[in-house]
């Protein structure tokens, strides 16, 4: 009998083909596992290609004083102490080797005059630390990894959305979903699964994130029983485009400030003097984002509600060489020549620090056989991520997750096997939007969700607003039971949106529940009703887990740092 789905089997299944997924696939393959790599877009379109500024790694090429210890201290301070110090230590130590490795695979970063890797300054990094390829570092990184993946014998499955993790009792057994092209169902049997599915910025209206960032992986992990952590920590990047409306939220790279860009309010004041006179424009993202927000709130915003960011004093040659994408972006999308005029910018949702809780060295989640790396995993960045730390995160922890997933898979005595009931159940859920003649429009619901998130879980939060937001999300979840899709299963974006929306609603519930619990302000989480840091909360991470079909919120102690690492922070404070 012909199966009603296409089936594949691998030792390791990697979900997501951004930086973390590609790096994990290479590592798992090198460890001897058979590897399948699944992505929602075509290969090479993952959100990592949007990473512009660079990779943070303490090579010390430009500032020889730099070291892993300083990178460690900067990252811990940026995360305001609730990061997992064990992840940060591994990260700071291994990032340089991951950068050099990319060059051995054919990548090439911008050079110093004597031919070594050039490094640029970035927000809250003590030294010049970001290795970059102009302002399209992510694109070069992805291309390099991708060519390596294809060559190393990894099977790539493009334009497939996986919507459910399959389990055999407690253990992971694979994943199930559909082909975007024709709606045909696909089942992957796997001994281990690496989630590298990125973030969920699309739950907000104004975001730098691409369409893919709907948090499928994180929501699937939650549904499979994994624990989530730090979900209240959503990063607002200080500089997104504000005009024209169609491009609102698109990123203006921090490299503009790294290369000397100056922020001014509508009165022409360099307002960062009032918020962080020492680091100025290169303060950490949470601080700069709040500063712009405040300037606008207090009536000193630009015509479209932002601030001016000016790089024109560096001259056209420099700008076109170091920031070619920004130059093009403003010229093409906004009719603005940034070599002559300032850009108009405002905060935009950019990154989620929270996600699936993982074991620091391996990426193992609380579900046996399920690993996570990159933005979908929590712990490295704490309450605020530093610019440039994401790309090195992908490489360092992508590699580790791939290796450990392979080791786990190859060490299993018996292959796990999921019963067909799980796939059948998921198929029924996926098919539901076609079974009714009237119902909710998924785009309408998504827009309403984005409105709630922006209003109630935005840059400035209050207990009342959060409580109201949670109720609204729960109401939207009810309505999402009645989603309807027209047309067929053939490349049908409206139908795809239906399942994505359920994932997003789950994660938004987690964001609200976590944000309500953390009654203090720390990093990206700014509570107007609790404006100060509370040392008690500095020792706790908020965690979320499903129990008996309900979302349960709790806390876990932040792992205490050993004395020799704690001293690194004091030394540089």
């Amino acid at each position: 009998m012909a199966e009603w789905y296409d089936a594949y089997a691998y030792d390791v299944l990697v979900i997501g083909a951004g930086g973390a997924g590609l790096r994990a696939a290479i590592a798992a393959r090198a460890a001897g596992a058979s590897v399948g790599l699944v992505c929602k877009s075509l290969l090479g379109k993952a959100h990592t290609v949007m990473a512009e500024g660079g990779i943070a790694a303490a090579l010390g090429n430009v500032d020889p004083q730099d070291s892993w210890e300083v990178h460690f201290a900067d990252t811990m301070r940026g995360g305001q102490g609730i990061n997992d110090y064990r992840m940060v230590e591994i990260f700071a130590k291994e990032a340089p080797e991951r950068v050099y490795e990319l060059e051995r695979w054919g990548g090439l970063f911008d050079r110093t005059p004597d031919g070594r890797i050039l490094q640029r300054p970035f927000g809250a990094h003590t030294y010049r630390r970001l290795c970059h390829v102009g302002d399209r570092t992510g694109l070069e990184l992805i291309r390099t990894l991708q060519d390596t993946v294809v060559h190393s014998g990894v099977d790539v499955h493009m334009e497939i959305t996986l919507t459910r993790l399959l389990t055999d009792a407690e253990r992971i057994a694979g994943a199930f979903g559909y082909r975007r092209e024709d709606g045909r169902y696909v089942l992957f049997r796997a001994k281990a699964v690496v989630l590298a599915t990125g973030g969920w910025g699309k739950v907000y209206k104004v975001t730098s994130n691409s369409w893919e960032c709907t948090g499928d992986g994180c929501a699937m992990a939650y549904e499979a029983g994994a624990e989530l952590m730090d979900m209240e920590m959503v990063q607002f990047h200080p500089t997104g485009m504000v005009w024209p409306p169609g491009v609102r939220g698109i990123l203006v790279t921090e490299a503009v400030r790294g290369e000397g860009g100056i922020l001014r309010n509508a009165r022409g004041e360099r307002f960062m003097e009032r918020y962080d006179p020492k680091k100025m424009e290169l303060s950490s993202r949470d601080v700069v984002a709040r500063a712009i927000y405040r300037e606008v709130q207090e009536g000193r915003g630009t015509p479209h509600g932002g601030a001016h960011l000016d790089i024109s004093h560096r001259g056209p040659d420099f700008i076109k060489k170091k920031l070619p994408s920004m130059y093009e972006q403003f010229l093409k999308l906004a009719d603005i020549d940034i070599t002559r005029s300032p850009m108009e910018v405002a905060p935009t949702v950019h990154y989620v620090m929270g996600g699936v809780r993982v074991e620091p060295g391996t990426g193992a989640t609380t579900v046996p056989g399920l690993y996570a790396a990159g933005e979908v995993a929590a712990g490295l960045h704490g309450a605020n991520r530093l610019g440039g730390n994401s790309l090195s995160d992908l490489l360092v922890f992508g590699k580790r997750a791939g290796e450990h997933a392979a080791r786990y898979a190859l060490g299993l005595a018996t292959a796990p096997r999921a019963d067909d009931g799980q796939a059948a159940e998921e198929r029924a859920l996926l098919a539901r939007p076609f079974e009714r003649d009237t119902g909710e429009n998924p785009y309408q619901l998504h827009e309403e969700l984005q409105e709630v998130m922006s209003q109630n879980a935005g840059i400035a939060r209050t207990g009342d607003g959060l409580a109201e937001g949670l109720q609204k999300v729960l109401a939207l979840q009810e309505r999402a039971e009645r989603l309807r899709s027209a047309g067929s299963m053939l490349y049908n974006p409206g139908w795809h949106e239906c399942r994505d929306l359920r994932f997003m609603l789950t994660l938004c519930e987690a964001i609200f529940r976590s944000a309500i619990v953390r009654t203090e302000s720390r990093g990206a989480h700014w509570r107007l009703d609790y404006p100060d840091q509370d040392p008690e909360w500095g020792r706790k991470n908020v965690v979320v887990r499903r129990a008996n079909g309900e979302m349960r919120v709790g806390t876990r102690p932040v792992p205490p740092m050993p004395a020799e690492l704690a001293r690194l922070l004091e030394a540089r404070a």
Binding site: A30, S41, G44, E101, V150, P244, K332, L333, A334, D335
Partner: protein
């Protein structure tokens, strides 16, 4: 503003047909914004690819008023009404504006885009980081940054006539690798570059140069590869 979109659903249509939509235009709207408007207000089954909205990912290449463009980067103020939107050429249509990119990717792979200078299986202590003088990179740097959108492939008249031709994007990649001073051997690449589908099949029409949304000049790469072959 009137949008005419070439629609095709292989499950029920025998051939593609144009369908018209009146799009509510707001300031500085792009072609992609217009397609979103149709999706959200007129027909939720319209299929097209997109991802980043910022011209970085290369998902939304299509043919607008007869020319290849990234829909997210092309603003309605710069196109004549009615706007005719159709899928990329020389690639099979899956549905509406979505094409099957397999031939494009297969040809990219045919030039053996894998960098050989170092075996990735070796993950031991790092070899000494390469010293590469910035001045040696000036031309290569201009040809980097391909977003594999397929616009050049669609615009190339040789691709349309000669299915063997690898096309501008793949050959540009081959040039970038061959021009990398760190890369020792051309490997299998030379056979593909100089074979029937390689640089000698190019007629130097130059549509690829005009079509590239990120300013790469694939024709120049092809010519440099040819010159290199002659020199050798």
């Amino acid at each position: 503003m009137i949008f005419r979109v070439k629609r095709f659903d292989p499950t029920c249509d025998r051939r593609p047909s144009w369908r018209a939509y009146t799009v509510d235009v707001r300031p500085k709207m792009s072609v992609l914004d217009g397609l979103f408007w149709i999706l959200e207000h007129a027909d939720s089954t319209l299929s097209f690819r997109y991802s980043c909205r910022a011209g970085m990912c290369g998902s939304c290449a299509m043919v607008v008023n007869g020319r290849e463009a990234l829909a997210c980067r092309l603003r309605l103020a710069h196109v004549a009404a009615p706007v005719h939107v159709e899928p990329l050429r020389s690639l099979p249509v899956i549905k509406d504006l979505v094409v099957d990119m397999t031939p494009f990717f297969e040809k990219y792979r045919a030039v053996d885009p894998f960098y050989r200078a170092e075996d990735p299986a070796v993950t031991g202590p790092a070899a000494a980081p390469a010293v590469v003088r910035p001045e040696s990179r000036e031309l290569v740097d201009l040809q980097l940054g391909c977003i594999s959108c397929g616009a050049c492939y669609s615009a190339c008249p040789v691709v349309a006539l000669n299915p063997e031709f690898l096309g501008p994007a793949a050959l540009n990649r081959a040039y970038v690798l061959s021009a990398d001073e760190r890369e020792p051997a051309a490997g299998d690449r030379a056979a593909a570059i100089l074979g029937d589908g390689g640089v000698h099949a190019c007629h130097a029409v130059g549509n690829c140069v005009a079509a590239c949304p990120v300013g790469i000049n694939p024709l120049l790469s092809i010519q440099l590869l040819r010159k290199g072959a002659t020199d050798r």
